[in-house]
Structures are given as C-alpha cells and as structure tokens.
C-alpha cells in the first residue's frame, strides 16, 4: 500500500471533569477517544459505527482539530495536524471538510446558497472573484441542484436538498478527505437513498476519501470499503465492510448486527437476536479491562484483567477481544 492519506497514531481526546464552585479541581476524566490508530488510503471510504457516546463524533472532531488532542498524532498527506500552527492548520483545512448530521442546523439561515458556497472559495482565495458565480453554479450541478436556486435561502429547501447544499459546501475546496457525520440519519428513507447515491457517485467521480459516521449498519455496509466499530472510545473491530457486518467477530459487533431489525418478516422471525443487557457504561467510570465485559455474554475473569488490543483475525480484519479464538 502506498503511503496512507490519513494516519492516526494512538489518538486520545480526554476531557477533564471539574467540580466545586470556588475551588475548582479536576475530579475525573472522560476518555472520549482513547487510543485510536487508523490508516486510510486515498480513495477509500471508511465507515465508523457505534452507539451514541462511543466517541465516533469526537474522533471526527479531533481529526479536524475541532476538539483538542490529548495525545497521539493525526497526519494528513504527510502533514502533522496535531503540531500545526494556526496558518498551517488553515491551509490544511482546504483538504479536510465535514458534512454534519442536521442540515437544518448546519446551514446559516441568513445566507443564500450562493453566499454559503462562495464563502470557502473566497476565504481560501481559490479563484478570482469574477469566477465565483460560475464555480458556485458548477458545485450546485455537481450535487444535483439547479443553479437557478442560487439566490434562495435554506428554509426554501427540503431536508434532502439542504443536505445537498451542505455537501456542495464541503466539496467547494476540492478536499482530499471528507468526514460525513451521520449525513442521512435526519432524512426520510426515500431521501436517504438519494443522498447515499450522491455520496457514492462523488467518491467515484472525484476520487474522494471519506469517513462515513453512522449508527445504521446497513447504510454503512452499503457505502463503505472498510468498517471500524467503536465502543467507549476504542476501536473494537476493523475490517472489510462485508466481513465485519456479515461475519462479525467481536461480541459487541455481533450484538450490534443482530439488533438491527431486518425488513423481511420471515428472516426476522427466524433469526436469533442477541439482546444486550443494560446501557453503554459511563465513559467517566469505564469498567476495568475490556470495557464491554459487563454486557458481554461471553465475558470471563480474564476479560476484567486487561484491556484487549486489536489483533489480526483474517485478511485486513482486526478484533480487540481476548477470547477471539475461543468463541
């Protein structure tokens, strides 16, 4: 494999928890992201899945340096983002864009589509001012919107169309890496399919590299080359999308896959569902050893003893479970 486009080395994002009013002191630490290592090749789509609070969005924000990095490095195209100064970071952000979950909240209601899409072009001085309207029109066409709607405001568009605008904004600077944080979960099924098709097409056409964050495994399987499953700040399983979702190895991934209702009554009745007890634990007081052991149907004494590391479990497939060979 050529040098990866994005390389994460043992990235940690910890937030201190303080209490007390006059004498504030640190009483704990939330390990939102706790030692994530990943390499992403150019043109690859990585699906990042996990339940709310598992740290998947914090990881995205850490890569973009919207959240502080406590330890480890994020390297994008040979440039260490964790050590970059303000000017270098500004330049790096041309290569690094994000699409957010809620297109109702992520677009400025007082800016027209033109203003929204022209801003990144202007800030980064991509083209002479005279060419901006043409570039905006081109971007709108790229995401399937008619350029004649350029002077309209976000409220005049439907949810799916707004998400198209948000995608166009992310693509304005021809970034190398796009992080899409739950880009379809706020949309209806029929609209979801439109946006998923658009994203796959853009990945193919523009050679984009993408991190696609979602909690819906069927969506992730559809769009991703590889999938990483997170639980309480750590990656517990990483591998080719079809392998991870059709033949999950980690007990957590198995439960996650089996929890998804299948839209087929015959299969739905026949299959054995693993219902996990309880809720994900608080990241403030993570369990000792494997963070999943209190909910895991296969947990043993040794699971409480040590934090399992990712170990190979097949071609390109890694799993963090000490009982991997036994279950």
């Amino acid at each position: 494999m050529a040098a990866p486009l994005l390389q994460l080395n043992d990235v940690k994002t910890h937030y201190p928890v303080e209490s007390g009013f006059l004498l504030r002191r640190q009483t704990g630490v939330v390990k939102a992201v706790d030692g994530v290592s990943l390499a992403l090749a150019a043109g690859e789509v990585l699906g990042l899945v996990g339940e709310s609070g598992c740290g998947k969005s914090t990881l995205a924000r850490t890569i973009l340096r919207l959240a502080p990095t406590t330890a480890g490095t994020v390297v994008l195209a040979g440039r260490n983002l964790t050590a970059a100064g303000a000017a270098e970071l500004q330049a790096a952000r041309r290569d690094l864009q994000m699409v957010f979950q809620d297109p109702y909240a992520s677009l400025n209601p007082r800016m027209t589509v033109h203003a929204t899409l022209a801003e990144p072009l202007r800030v980064h001085g991509v083209c002479p001012p005279a060419e901006v309207p043409a570039r905006v029109a081109e971007l709108m066409q790229l995401v399937g919107l008619a350029p004649r709607f350029m002077r309209k405001y976000p409220h005049e568009f439907s949810g799916g169309q707004r998400q198209r605008i948000a995608i166009a904004r992310a693509l304005a600077l021809r970034p190398k890496l796009v992080i899409a944080d739950e880009p379809v979960s706020a949309l209806d099924v029929s609209i979801q399919a439109q946006i998923l098709n658009l994203l796959s097409e853009l990945v193919r056409k523009m050679g984009l590299t993408m991190i696609f964050i979602a909690h819906d495994l069927s969506v992730v399987k559809h769009i991703s080359d590889r999938v990483a499953v997170m639980y309480l700040g750590k990656i517990v399983e990483l591998g080719p999308a079809a392998d991870v979702i059709e033949r999950p190895r980690h007990p957590y991934t198995r439960a996650l896959v089996s929890a998804i209702p299948v839209p087929d009554p015959g299969k739905e009745r026949a299959r054995q569902r693993i219902v996990l007890p309880g809720d994900p634990p608080s990241p403030l007081h993570p369990p000792a050893g494997c963070a999943f052991h209190p909910r895991c149907p296969f947990a043993q004494e040794k699971c409480r003893a040590a934090v399992p590391a990712l170990a190979p479990a097949g071609p390109g497939h890694e799993v963090a479970c000490v009982r991997l060979g036994e279950i």
Partner: protein, 325 residues
Amino acid sequence: MPLLEVTDLRTSFHTRNGVTRAVDGVSFAVEKGETLGIVGESGSGKSVTCYSLMGLIPQPPGRIEGGRALFDGLDLLRCPPAEARAIRGKRIAMIFQDPMTSLNPYLRVSQQLVEPLLIHGLCDAPEARRRALAMLEAVGLNDAPRRLDQYPHEFSGGMRQRVMIAMALITRPELLIADEPTTALDVTVQAQILELIKKLQREFGMAVIFITHDLGVVSGLCDRVQVMYAGRIVERAGTDALFRAPRHPYTRALQRSIPALQPKGAELFTIPGLPPDLSQPVAGCAFAPRCASAADRCRREPPVLAPAGPAHEHACLRVQAGEIP
C-alpha cells in the same frame, strides 16, 4: 366487533398558508390483542391519525373535519369530553418518540407513575405506589425501589422509555398507541424496548398500534401493516404479504430504497421528487407525480382503497385495473 374502528377520519390544520389536509379519509380497525403497524414518511399523517384519536390535536389550528372512531361502541371524536377522558389514559394509552420531553422533569417518577391510577380512581395512594413499583419491575428496571423516587434526568434514554411504558401500561389498557417509541434510541437499546413491548403485549393481551418509518421494525413486530402517503392509506396487508408481494407502487419503491435489501455497492433505488404539499388540493393519486407507472388517469381520478386478495387492500388504479402487475 373490533376493539377500535376508525371510519373516514379527516383532520386538517387551518394556517395562514391555507388548509393542510394532514389526514384525508382514513379508515381502519384494530382487533383485540393484535398489532397494527402504520408506516409512512414524515408528513404522511401517521402520527396525526393517532393524535386525533387521543384528543391531542391542538384546536385551533387543527380541526377534526369528519369521521368516526368507535372504541367499544363510543365515538371518541364526538362523545362528551368527560366520557372520552375516562377512556384515554385508562383503556387507551400512548407512548411517544422522545422520552425526555414527554416526562415531566420536575416530578419524581413515582408521582408520574401513580397519576393515571389516581386520576381514574382505580385505587388509593398506597396501593398505587405498590403497583408503580411492580410495574417498574415488569419493565425491567433494576433496583426499582430506589429508582421509584428519582427524577427523569437521573435515567438514561432507554430507561426513560421503560418508565414511559410503565406509565402507559399501569392502568392495563386494552390498546397501546406507540408513536415511534424507539426512533431516538440506539439500536441495541431499541432491540431491548421492542422485546419488552412484545413481552408485555403477550402478558396483558393488549392491542398495539405501532407507528414507525422503519420497515425493519414493523417486520418483526406487527401482524398487519398499513402504509400511509400524503394523508391516506395506500396499502394494507398482513405483514408477510406486504413484504413478500407489495402491490402499490409506493410500497414497492419504499421497500426497494432500503439499503439493507440491496446488494452492496449497487446504486440504490430512489423515488424522484418530494411528497406533495398537502395545502394544495390533490387531484387524482397523490403519488402520481413521483410514480414510474403513472398514467394520465392517475392524475385525474382519485384512487380508492379496494380489496385485492385475502386481507390485502391497496389504492392503485392501474394495479386494480390489471394494467401493471
């Protein structure tokens, strides 16, 4: 006689931008002990249908324009308010999507749980507290005696939904209306809540109306399903029949656009365009502008829900006429 029989329900919202016909002539029946799924996208009228039955439509701007909803011989839409109140919250209960906004943050869980029992005069306060405790245990809350006097913010999302379910079922209702009760929850917690609803339904023998946009949830839970589009029912069938052989083009399109049912990497089937604006009168079939099989007739004649085989009905003119399979 069915437990609930809704006939030609029409609910509109009168706003400055005109009259929005959110529910436009919906009829259905729910038998004792069965589970009916109502599926549709946002704005299809699935929630407004049930809100109308529960008297939860704000009036104005909402108005129930017509129809009947017979529950045990009593028309919920037209009977004196006192009689409707005696049924709602006692014999018909409802749970909502977001357990955070539907529990009162100022009141202890115990106070909210006993309220239906005391309001309907079903027992005295000490007995109500005993029943509340038993109910919390029935919905699988660990450490129920301690949890009983906590406030909603001390519970996680899944736990709050369990409290909501306990509250709804404490009067042993004959009908439970569940409006997207798992949409705000993680999949592993969703699985817990769905199993819980199934288990309690078996124990109490109640009927359930389950509103959702997720065809996957419906497939494992419901006996029958009705699909709504633009304020009308477009197809209704037993769950197996609906998934195996959907007849209406909208149901088919909806099924084909789910990523779970597509081969990986294939381009997903999409429905072009957007649902219609319900404040504009729709001539003919509301789905016609987005339908691949629409003919001129579809844009003129309003379709009618008609039987097409055993316990299977749909509202597509062209399928009914045998013009398309």
